[in-house]
Amino acid sequence: MLSTIDDATLNKVAVALGEQDAVTLIAHLKGVEEITDDEIANKTAIRLNSVRKILYKLYDHSLVSLRRTRDPKTGWFIFHWRLQPDQLEGFILSQKRRVLEKLNVRLDYEKNHDFYYCGSQECKRVPFEEAVELVFHCSGCGKPLVHFANEIMIERLSEKVEILRKELGE
C-alpha cells in the first residue's frame, strides 16, 4: 500500500498537538509495537502526567490506540499504547476541512463588511454598524475611528482558501 505520510509530517503534527515532548513521545512510539505510559516516562524522562496528557490528546484524534489490562498484583489498569500512523492522513484532512470552513466564514465576513479602527494595537477593529453606534470613537481608547482597508487581508485570505480547496480537491 502506498504510504503518503513521512516522519517529518508526523513530527509536525506532534509539534502542533503539543510541544517538544510530543515529538519525543512519538519517536518512542514509532520504534515499538506497543508501550505503556510508565515505560515511556521512564525512557524519555518526561513526567508521567505529561506523557498521559499527550497520549490522551493523541487518542482524541485517533492517532494512537490503547489496550487495557489489569495488573494482577495491584488490580490497577495498565494502558498499552500503539501508534496508528495510518490515521494521520485522515486527521490532517479533517483538520484542513475544519480550518477551511472557518476561513470561508471569515472571508465572507471580511468581504461583506466595512471596518473602522483607531490604530491602537490594544484595540480591535469594529464593523461599520458598531462604529456608527459608537459615534466613530473607539470604545477602548476614545480615539476617533477611521476606515480600515481590508483588501489586502481579503486577498491573502482568498489565496489561502484557494490553496486549501485545491489540496482538498474541492
Binding site: 492522513e89 490532517i92 471569515r106
Partner: protein, 145 residues
C-alpha cells in the same frame, strides 16, 4: 528487467513526489532505468488504477505525456501556523457565538501576517503554465499595447 509491480510502485512514488508539477513520462523512465515500452505500459496501468492522471504534452517536437498524481501526500504545511488548528476554543467557536471566526483576534493576527511569510516555492499548476517571456519577444510587446 524489474518486475512490473516493483516498477509500478517506484513510478507511483516518483510521480507522487513531483506534486502539482507532475513529471514527463519520458523523464520518469530515464529516472527509473526502464525502457520506454515498459514505462508506457506501467503508466497506463497506473492510470487505469486511478492513481495518476496523464496529460498529453508536446515536448521538443514530440508528443509525450505528463503524469500527475491523483492523490498527493497529506501535508499539514498549509495550516501548521493557523490558530484554528487544534484551537482550544474550537468546541465553542461558531459564527453565531461570541467566540467566532469572524472576530477571533488570533485569526486576525494570523491573516495580517500571512503575506509577511517568505514566498513559498511555486507549486500550483499555474506556476508551470506561465513560462518566462523573453524581453525582446515582439509578441510580448504587442500584448502590452
Amino acid at each position: 528487467m524489474p518486475k512490473r509491480n516493483d516498477l509500478e510502485q517506484k513510478a507511483l512514488h516518483y510521480v507522487v513526489g513531483t506534486g502539482y508539477q507532475g513529471v514527463l513520462q519520458s523523464d520518469l523512465w530515464r529516472e527509473l532505468g526502464a525502457s520506454s515500452r515498459e514505462g508506457s505500459r506501467v503508466s497506463i496501468k497506473l492510470e487505469e488504477k486511478g492513481l495518476i492522471r496523464r496529460e498529453k504534452e508536446l515536448q521538443e517536437g514530440r508528443w509525450t505525456y505528463r503524469l500527475y498524481p491523483k492523490r498527493l501526500p497529506a501535508s499539514i504545511e498549509t495550516i501548521i501556523d493557523c490558530p484554528c488548528l487544534l484551537c482550544p476554543d474550537n468546541a465553542r467557536c461558531d459564527p453565531t457565538t461570541t467566540i467566532s471566526p469572524k472576530s477571533c483576534p488570533r485569526l486576525t493576527d494570523w491573516i495580517i501576517n500571512l503575506g509577511k511569510e517568505a514566498p513559498a516555492a511555486p507549486e500550483g499548476p499555474s506556476a508551470i503554465a506561465e513560462p518566462d517571456m523573453p524581453e525582446d519577444d515582439p509578441d510580448a510587446e504587442s500584448l502590452d499595447t
